[in-house]
């Protein structure tokens, strides 16, 4: 097959270079997190010095805990609410669904700084002290939309037939959702949940605006650390965060396969159609 990019091998070379560009900075972070010296330029020897420092810093450990809690709660709530929203949007053919179909997309394409400011404003207005809960609420707001999109993509490929069959067999409408539809959607729901976990765990901007008296989530802590000096601990924190969120994403990709379907998790996540 011909390509406009002259020959496939040039295309391959170009793609390779882009992957290099994408991975070099990350590799640097990982490699230098094991540096025995403080330098960010020269590797002087391997050590776990910066990891030890991280695990011995109670403030950073608190931040890690906060980040995990936020991501977990966000994952659970937004998965439930988002899945329901997806089901409702696809199944209901009412004016309500039309309006919300559009509204649901808006948080996804709004710059995060706007969402952060709006959240800060509403919490101040209502007199809600900023805490881990305000962060969670802000995270859930945009996470719902992610879940809805992933689940909706899958829902589109499932017809009404199974549910109708279940109802013919005497199931109530609610039972047909609970016993038939949800299990069929399960791979997408789990994948969406894990995706949201990773997004929430990594989020900086929303957390930055809504963080309060509880321990600051890791990204907010990293922000202060970067602004106040060089510390290779950041590399260690970054590497650990990378491990957490990439594990979550890897699970999100792999889990749909565990459900015995010969389909790719990437496909479920990106909503690629059959």
């Amino acid at each position: 097959m011909s390509t406009p990019f002259y020959k496939p091998r040039f295309l391959r070379l170009f793609t390779g270079l882009v992957y290099l560009y994408l991975f070099i900075p990350i590799t640097i972070v990982i490699v230098f997190s094991f540096n025995s010296q403080k330098s960010l330029q020269v590797m002087e020897g391997l050590s776990f010095r910066w990891y030890t420092e991280f695990f011995n810093d109670p403030t950073l450990m608190d931040s890690l805990m906060t980040s995990v809690q936020i991501a977990l709660v966000t994952m659970v709530i937004s998965t439930i609410v988002g899945t329901a929203l997806a089901i409702g949007l696809v199944r209901a053919h009412s004016g309500t669904s039309k309006g919300f179909n559009i509204l649901m997309l808006v948080p996804l394409i709004t710059p995060e700084i706007v969402a952060g400011i709006s959240a800060l404003l509403i919490f101040s207005q209502l007199g809600i002290a900023l805490s881990i809960w305000t962060i969670i609420i802000a995270h859930i707001t945009f996470s719902i939309s992610y879940v809805t999109i992933v689940v909706r993509g899958r829902l589109a490929s499932i017809g009404m037939e199974v549910e109708e069959a279940a109802q013919d067999l005497g199931a109530s409408r609610w039972e047909s959702v609970r016993l038939v539809l949800v299990p069929a959607l399960w791979p997408a729901i789990v994948a969406a949940g894990l995706l949201v976990f990773a997004l929430s765990f990594d989020d900086f901007v929303l957390s930055f605006f809504t963080t309060g008296e509880d321990a600051q989530p890791l990204p907010v802590r990293i922000w202060s650390m970067i602004r106040f000096g060089v510390s290779p601990t950041i590399n260690a924190v970054g590497t650990l965060m990378m491990v957490v969120s990439i594990s979550a994403v890897a699970l999100a990709v792999l889990i749909p396969r565990l459900f015995g379907r010969r389909e790719s998790g990437v496909k479920v996540l990106t909503g690629a159609e059959e």
């Binding site: 170009f14 972070v29 988002g82 709006s118």
Partner: protein, 282 residues
């Protein structure tokens, strides 16, 4: 319970959540943008257009223009870099397609700050790249790469390119290869075929990618803060400073509203296509 009502109940929790915690706060931002600050520097609601007059003051207009220019440059670079990659994966990826896609997504799930910080370490005067350039004799003195507009745009490209590649991939993959073959017979050269057949066929992906990169890039403040210099102040930085450094929430709100109105054109355009299924969603 009627059929319609039944399904509506599924919509309400999520729909109302988004309405109350996203749409209503946005309205508050709009309301505050007409306000002013009191003696303590607290925002007070009101009915004045002063903040908007300030936004379009000769001092701030360059910041708005700069932000849009950086975001446009980011979009163009993402498209130029992303298209060949998406094309390669979709057409030549074969059985490695999903692996390649997954590899592409991995850097995106490394914290944005950490990724940007890595660029700081790479591009610094005493950083790895400069050290190599000096060692290999390309240059005597380190080249200033950090604290420049190029570094800021580079950071934005690195941060958001995934939003370009995924929709592009989707639309290229969906394209029927036989159309390209037919186009080749019609137009002859691969370049002509590309311009007349492939590009139009993947238009939906291109548009979605451009909008999805443009929107967050305009509002970004991390890249300019960490990689920028004295002349790379973007509207995101300006807004952030109004809320957390200058304590002028009403002016910050007005800036946010103006930015949102400008972006709304693109958002509506995208939403219309997305709701009709003409654009890749993500």
């Amino acid at each position: 319970m009627s059929s319609r009502r039944f399904w509506d109940w599924f919509i309400f929790p999520g729909g109302i959540w988004i309405a109350l915690l996203f749409a209503v706060p946005l309205m508050l931002v709009l309301a505050l943008s007409f306000g002013h600050v009191d003696d303590f520097g607290r925002g007070v609601y009101g009915f004045s257009l002063d903040n908007y007059r300030d936004v379009f003051d000769a001092t701030y207009v360059p910041v708005l223009i700069r932000s849009v220019a950086y975001a446009l440059a980011t979009v163009i670079l993402c498209l130029l870099i992303g298209y060949p990659v998406a094309y390669f994966i979709a057409r030549y990826g074969g059985k490695y397609r999903y692996a390649l896609l997954a590899a592409l997504v991995i850097p995106f799930f490394v914290n944005y700050l950490v990724r940007t910080y890595a660029w700081v370490a790479l591009l610094a005067d005493q950083g790895l790249i400069n050290n190599l350039l000096v060692d290999w004799g390309f240059t005597q003195e380190p080249i200033q790469m950090i604290n420049t507009p190029y570094a800021v745009i580079g950071g934005l490209v690195y941060g958001y390119i995934i939003f370009m590649i995924l929709p592009l991939y989707g639309s290229i993959e969906r394209m029927d290869p036989s159309v390209v073959e037919a186009g080749k017979d019609l137009y002859g050269s691969p370049l002509q075929t590309f311009i007349h057949v492939t590009l139009p066929a993947t238009q939906a992906g291109i548009l979605a990618g451009c909008v999805l990169v443009f929107l967050p890039a305009v509002g970004d403040f991390v890249s300019a803060q960490l990689l920028g210099g004295p002349d790379t102040y973007m509207v995101g930085n300006l807004i952030q400073d109004q809320f957390f450094a200058a304590s002028n929430w009403p002016f910050g709100s007005a800036l946010t509203v103006v930015m949102m109105l400008f972006l709304a054109v693109w958002m509506v355009f995208y939403l219309r296509r997305a709701s009709k299924g003409e654009a890749e969603v993500l």
